[in-house]
């Protein structure tokens, strides 16, 4: 198209504005093109100044207890992390237990539990020794010759899919006799967006799946490079990247899929659930290959703990999910159990423990938190787990089998 093209209002006679107007435009154009450089420089300086402050703030905080940007898990516990104030300590595998000695007994029975923040032991006033795994160790080892070690693989914010993937990663290093993963019939536990979480590898670099989805494929190497450079130099960018990797800090997880920019419907929800079931199946396969017992511990959240809480939850959420007013919580728990059994895994239904804890609610749940357990709550959970371990001679069988097949090394190296 030329200047005189009729599509853009060009004067077919070819008339131009007067020369002095052009001269003024040339002066202003030259002014603007130079100023664009000033603007870009000024933007950079202003941004960099704030970024430097953010970098200082982030550096001065205690080393983060979570390692963000994990290529396969999105985030995980930082290894060898120690917070004496909150009494939180991670061993060399990022598990929340006392450091594992180099000469561990190869015949010890090992139980590894995976899950989210409740399993991790989050919440105010919960010291390391209060957490369920230490409580369970004390219970189990009270009258035993062969020690039992209970490993805490919980990570805050995890879904069931993440817990399963983490368990798979650690199986060879830990060589457990039994693995259990806690699961609840909640959106955080079950809804895992297969497109958002995780990373894709581009030219040897890991780029978040969400970012990769936003750019055309031919540009991905450039995007990966930009991501690496900005991640290295910009604290603000790193914060956003980490937040995106953690799938955002949006309002309640079970609504998060409805707040996405793109419209998503029921089939999207089905895909998210399927991602969870696939992770369960992957873990089952990995355990079968290694001869490791696997259980899924159904541990409902607090809305099930008391009748009043259930009624309140139903009032707030019932219409959202199309639930009748007389819906009982067991309906979702039974459905979940049936689904897991259908996937070929055995389940431990710990609803009685949760309801028992509900009878003296604030003894077992942290006030103003109402999701995480107090030390007494951890003790109660540990007792429930012990009940399942002792049922049908499971623990006895594990002990006998391990004695017949001692490990060839105390512990394997931590996975990369």
């Amino acid at each position: 198209m030329t200047d005189s093209s009729p599509q853009f209002g060009g004067d077919p006679s070819g008339g131009d504005p007067p020369t002095d107007e052009f001269a003024q435009l040339d002066a202003e154009r030259s002014f603007m093109l130079k100023r664009i450089l000033h603007i870009l420089l000024g933007l950079f300086v202003g941004f960099a100044a704030v970024d430097a402050v953010v970098a200082q703030v982030d550096a001065s905080e205690n080393e983060a207890e979570m390692e963000l940007g994990h290529p396969l898990l999105s985030w995980t516990n930082t290894v060898d992390y120690h917070d004496p104030v909150l009494d939180r300590h991670h061993d060399r595998y990022g598990l929340r237990n006392r450091e594992i000695e180099a000469d561990a007994d190869p015949t010890e029975v090992r139980i590894a539990g995976f899950g989210e923040s409740r399993i991790y032991g989050a919440g105010e006033g919960v010291a390391q020794d209060d957490v369920w795994n230490h409580a369970l160790e004390r219970l189990l080892n009270a009258n035993r010759r062969v020690p039992v070690r209970v490993l805490n693989g919980g990570v805050m914010g995890y879904s069931v899919a993440q817990s399963c993937r983490r368990a798979v990663l650690l199986l060879d290093a830990l060589e457990p006799d039994l693995v259990f993963v806690t699961v609840a019939a909640t959106p955080q536990a079950l809804i895992e967006d297969p497109d958002l979480g995780g990373f894709v590898e581009v030219d040897g670099r890991f780029v978040s799946r969400a970012m990769a989805a936003r750019w055309p494929e031919p540009l991905l190497p450039l995007v990966a490079l930009g991501d690496a450079v900005l991640g290295r130099w910009s604290a603000i960018y790193t914060r956003h990247k980490n937040r995106e990797v953690m799938q955002g800090d949006l309002p309640p997880f079970f609504l998060r899929w409805r707040y996405f920019g793109d419209p998503k419907g029921r089939d999207y929800l089905e895909r998210c659930l399927q991602a969870t079931w696939d992770s369960v199946s992957d873990l089952r396969t990995a355990c079968e290959e290694r001869g490791i017992e696997l259980r899924f511990a159904i541990l409902p959240d607090t809305e099930v703990a008391t009748a009043e809480r259930w009624k309140e939850w139903l009032q707030k959420n019932g219409s959202l999910w199309g639930l009748p007013a007389d819906t009982q919580p067991e309906r979702s728990i039974d459905a979940l159990e049936a689904k897991l059994n259908g996937l070929g895994v055995e389940t431990w239904n710990m609803t009685p423990e949760v309801k028992g804890m509900g009878k003296y609610f604030f003894q077992h749940y942290i006030r103003d938190d109402v999701h995480h357990w107090t030390p007494k709550g951890h003790q109660r959970v540990a007792e429930g787990l012990m009940r399942w371990l002792l049922k049908d001679g499971l623990l006895k069988r594990l002990t006998t089998e391990r004695a017949a097949n001692p490990r060839t090394q105390p512990f394997g190296p931590p996975p990369r």
Binding site: S4, G9, E21, L25, R29, I39, G46
Partner: protein, 508 residues
Amino acid sequence: MLFQSVEFLVFMAVLLPLFWALARRRGRRQALLLVGSYLFYGMYEAWFLTLIVFSTLLDYQCGQRIQTARDTGDRTSAKRWLWLSLVGNLGVLGFFKYTDWFFDNMQWVATALGSGVDLVAFKRSLLPDFIQAGYANTLTPEIVRDIVLPVGISFYTFQTLSYTIDIYRGKLKPARSFGDFALFVSFFPQLVAGPIVRAAEFLPQLDLLPRIDRQRLHEALWRIGCGLTRKIVFADLIGLYLVDPVFNDPLAYSAEVHVLAIIGFGFQIYNDFAGYSEMAIGVAKLFGFDLPENFAYPFRSISVREFWTRWHMTLSFWLRDYVFQPLGGWRSKMPRAAFNNIATMVLIGLWHGASWLWVWYGLVNAIAMIVEVQWRQWRKKRARAAGVKFELAQPGTLAWWIKAAFAYPYFIVIVFGSSASIRAGTWETMGNMFLRAGDKGIESLSVWALVVFVGTWALILLPRSWVDFTHRLVHRAPTWLVAVWLGTMVAVTALLLIGQQPFIYFQF
């Protein structure tokens, strides 16, 4: 793409220098802007482009034909072409915006009459897949839309209609070229959320060489920085920490918190929309274009009538000029004048959204305005009867302050109360917000909620002289310093960005 995104920064970094490099050549710079605008819009959804192109083609043709008919004195033909423009544009807008509502209402009627027919399922079976959304309206998550609402359709439809109507009225000549008209419709700074620009305001600017000088450049950067801050800091934060928690769970919070949240929503929508408008005006200025102002300190009004001359001015003036005045406006005698006002305000409500709550919103404001007009008429009559000249109190005088002291609370109740219905989204939530309350008091709110709330009030009450002083400082400062300030604002807003929250008015 959103203004507050990395993609937009890259977009501007390429487009702006290119534009000024080509500034001498009218055709090339217009073509560049048009391509850039279509690219900007197409990044939302590529198929949205078909609608804006359809609207552009239709109204360009209609405009030409109307002018030809006027030139030959054929008013019938001119009217016919105008009707084609109205039906075509409003038909498309009506389909995307009101079909869901229509079927929901028909379903309600059918169910009330005892029929088992599922009209909503029938509607879904008729719609092609790519039009179907199945997403929740982000402002009121309970409302699920079936049909995607193309971003900006409410805005550009009114823009193109103003073109054909003004040609019909003889107030405007058709655009010099199709390219000019296409650029008027799709100019990216104001395409998706206004200001609604009239052709008479925009087209003449295309005939002039673009202008930029230090003052305009600094003004542009200032507007962009202020707009970004209002959107991210004031609007998003008050939404996150005050409005959303309370509106999503009204039964938990006390009455005082409800009041704060209702006013907070008014602040949120004001800063969100005014922020976008400021950015649009600033970005347009970088290309040498002037867009009309959309807000003039609306919360300094002391009457609902005054509010609507300061709030979303381009929309209210559009409806005044093309609906209210042609119906007779206030010149008509009551009750006709009341009807004119109610019709216009209900249309304002429905322009925002397809819901009875929007109708309610328009109705409440209309009734308040009628009451104000009647009150003034009554005072005029009394003054006449007493042989005294009726004069309005001048702002700043004692009489004005006394009037404001009584009028302002009423204004707050009407304006904030009616807009709360928008956020409530359902009658049930509205009832819970206004009639029921829980126990959690102000102490349960985040401190950020209160900081932003108080901060917004402070900005509203800022004296004009302070604002003017700041503008003078900005105009005199070196460009790099203004850019450093903008860079810090960009960084602060980047820190606070809660994901990429779209502008609230995108969903209108």
